[in-house]
Amino acid sequence: MASPNPDSGSTQLSPQLIELVYGELRALAASYMRHQRSSHTLQPTALVNEAFLKIARSNSEAFASRSHFMAVAATAMRQVLINHAESKNAEKRGGGSRGIPIDPGMAAPDLGVAQVDVLAIEEGLRKLEKLDERKARVVEAKIFGGLSHEEIASVLGVSLSTVEGDWRMAKAWLAKEMRGTQSGE
């Protein structure tokens, strides 16, 4: 064979697995929206936890640990949101996608509800993935999965302070990247 050990190196999550969780998340969200309708908020963490409970009910061994599942779900959630934002953008070119409210964090400036521009985040995140895979994983789990620092530390097998440092640095870097592209255009 041309490639002696083709398995090595491709340790990323199986696309099918992410599609599976993606499907679960979408179905759950859809049924949630059908029953709750209007003005309720829907937290990604709530959705991810719901999906986990559903899966854990039918089989506790389906996923090795809760945090591992949460990380997979964060990736799937990222897909859900990116796809949504992209299709919105394709629909009304240049109309600008409506932001998704985020947790403003410690220093909330007086701007009303802070919002995230999912596509700008995605662009920065893809760049970050190439520069520092671990920081990108931290950001993904934090922004899209709403995982706690402890959960992220356990998924990535690093210390809590590493996660905190990664998050703080990556956040500042992403903010700088996003501001850079905005002022550049």
Partner: protein, 483 residues
């Protein structure tokens, strides 16, 4: 300086600068000679202090799902490019497949069109990847691509590609027809193996060209009336890492985007799940060419036995995942006594949970498929009950329990446990006990020997003392200074 290295330096500088008081920060920054790095760091520290607006955990996604309405159905056009559209063949993961005719040549072709509802950059990238990938593969058992293009302009532009139209039955349907003819298993075996040989050749060819299919299932393998098998739909396949970097521009095996209208995703998955390998459910392991071999094993089992190797609950993905990861498939011989022997061993080897226990390449598998067909003995050896039990203990319960224990207690992440090492743990324990025993034996024998020498020496001393007291003259000889 390479980008990742530069980022690492930036990251280290940030960690040192982030909590410095203003004057210290000024002098810290002043010491950085690289202007770009200094400015980047300065703006990051500033953003960190004033609050990183726009970057934070998402707290509400209700708005995303509010507008989730039924997306428009795909309207079958009359023409695409120069082709007359004859009808819809089916909907796939990345669009629709149409049957069409090229008027000039009267040739019937299949056209895959990216659905307008799924028009987003990622779906497009994936679609283009499939085109490039197919362009790379030229094999009699892989549906050939003829051309690619875009139909229409602007917003209604639809990328499409034209490929060989394959008429035939899906692999499993074909084997069912064979079974319904009422031929005994022994007569059916050779035709099935003939088809499988072609499929293995195609899959092996793809692997040799750096392509893993990753979605092999009966719907993707067609058997024509001429007895030729064709592998289709490389929509979720990926390039193997080694070849990807050199051969193509955007090479990342990125996650394919689900982009079907409505809820077709679930229907798609229903047909996919039973053929997914255990490692595909386990984010930790690599999904590679041996996952394709597993899928072939499931299909071979299904073709021969008329049923899947294990019952899959099609309504519950987690339950299906658990079954695939833990249930040991029955031996074919237990389903149909005519299938005991070589074929049973080959299928069992393909269905091994651990890719390391399967055939390691399509070439290896091809050899055994040919041997089976020719009635020769296969290279695969049946695994005896004892070996299987030992392996299960080593890889199964033992590993799972260590995983759980280590995973929960220390690491919280099963991926960090080195399975090879854990697998050898019983052997290592035995070795340790043996070496401890050996040390004990050595110590004990040393002690015994010393005791023996001690007693011997004492006895000698006693003898000498006794001699000395019997002959007093000898004392003066022993100590000349005494006088």
């Amino acid at each position: 300086m390479d980008e990742a290295r530069r980022f690492k330096i930036l990251s280290e500088l940030f960690d040192r600068a982030r909590d410095l008081a203003r004057p210290e920060l000024e002098s810290f920054l002043a010491e950085i000679t690289d202007r770009g790095l200094r400015e980047e760091l300065a703006s990051m520290v500033a953003l960190d202090r004033e609050g990183t607006v726009g970057v934070g955990p998402i707290i509400d996604i209700a708005g995303v799902f509010e507008q989730e309405t039924a997306e428009p159905e795909f309207a079958v056009p009359e023409r695409i490019g120069n082709y007359e559209i004859l009808g819809l063949i089916g909907t796939g993961a990345s669009g629709v497949v149409l049957r069409a005719r090229q008027p000039e040549t009267d040739r019937i072709v299949a056209i895959k069109v990216l659905g307008t509802g799924s028009w987003n950059p990622r779906a497009l990238a994936r679609f283009r990847r499939e085109i490039r990938l197919l362009g790379r593969l030229d094999h009699p058992n892989i549906a050939r691509i003829y051309e690619a293009g875009t139909d229409g302009e602007g917003l209604s532009a639809r990328p499409y590609f034209v490929m060989e139209y394959v008429s035939g039955l899906t692999l499993v349907a074909w084997s069912r027809v064979l079974a319904e003819r009422g031929q005994p298993m022994t007569d059916r075996l050779v035709p099935i193996l003939d088809i499988f040989e072609q499929v293995v050749l195609a899959v092996g060819y793809a692997h040799a060209n750096g392509v893993v299919h990753r979605d092999l299932k009966p719907a993707n393998i067609l058997v024509g009336a001429n007895g030729r098998a064709k592998v289709l739909d490389f929509g979720v396949s990926g390039f193997l890492p080694e070849t990807s970097a050199s051969a193509l521009d955007d090479t990342r095996i990125d996650t394919p985007t689900q982009s079907l209208p409505g809820h077709a995703l679930t229907e798609q998955l229903v047909g996919t799940v039973p053929y997914m390998s255990p490692e595909q459910f386990d984010g930790a392991s690599a999904v590679g060419h041996r996952s394709d071999l597993y899928a072939l094993g499931v299909m071979l089992f299904e073709c021969l036995a008329g049923e899947l190797p294990y019952a899959i609950d099609r309504n519950s993905i987690p339950a299906a995942a658990a079954a695939i990861r833990t249930t040991v498939p029955p031996l074919l011989g237990h389903v149909d006594a005519a299938l005991a022997g070589g074929i049973e061993t080959v299928v069992a080897k393909l269905l091994e949970k651990d890719p390391a226990d399967r055939y390691q390449s399509a070439t290896e598998l091809l050899e055994d498929v040919r041997r089976l067909r020719d009635g020769r003995e296969t290279n695969a050896r049946p695994i005896t009950g004892l070996a299987r039990a030992r392996r299960r203990l080593r890889r199964g319960q033992w590993r799972a329990s260590v995983d759980r224990w280590l995973g929960n207690r220390w690491l919280g992440n099963h991926r960090l446990v080195n399975h090879r090492l854990v697998g050898r743990m019983p052997a290592m324990l035995v070795l340790m006990i043996l070496s401890i025993l050996l040390v004990f034996v050595l110590l004990a024998s040393g002690l015994a020997y010393t005791t023996f020498r001690w007693l011997d020496a004492e006895a000698k001393l006693a003898r000498v003392a006794a001699q000395a007291s019997e002959t007093p003259g000898s004392g003066s000889r022993a100590d000349p200074n005494a006088k």
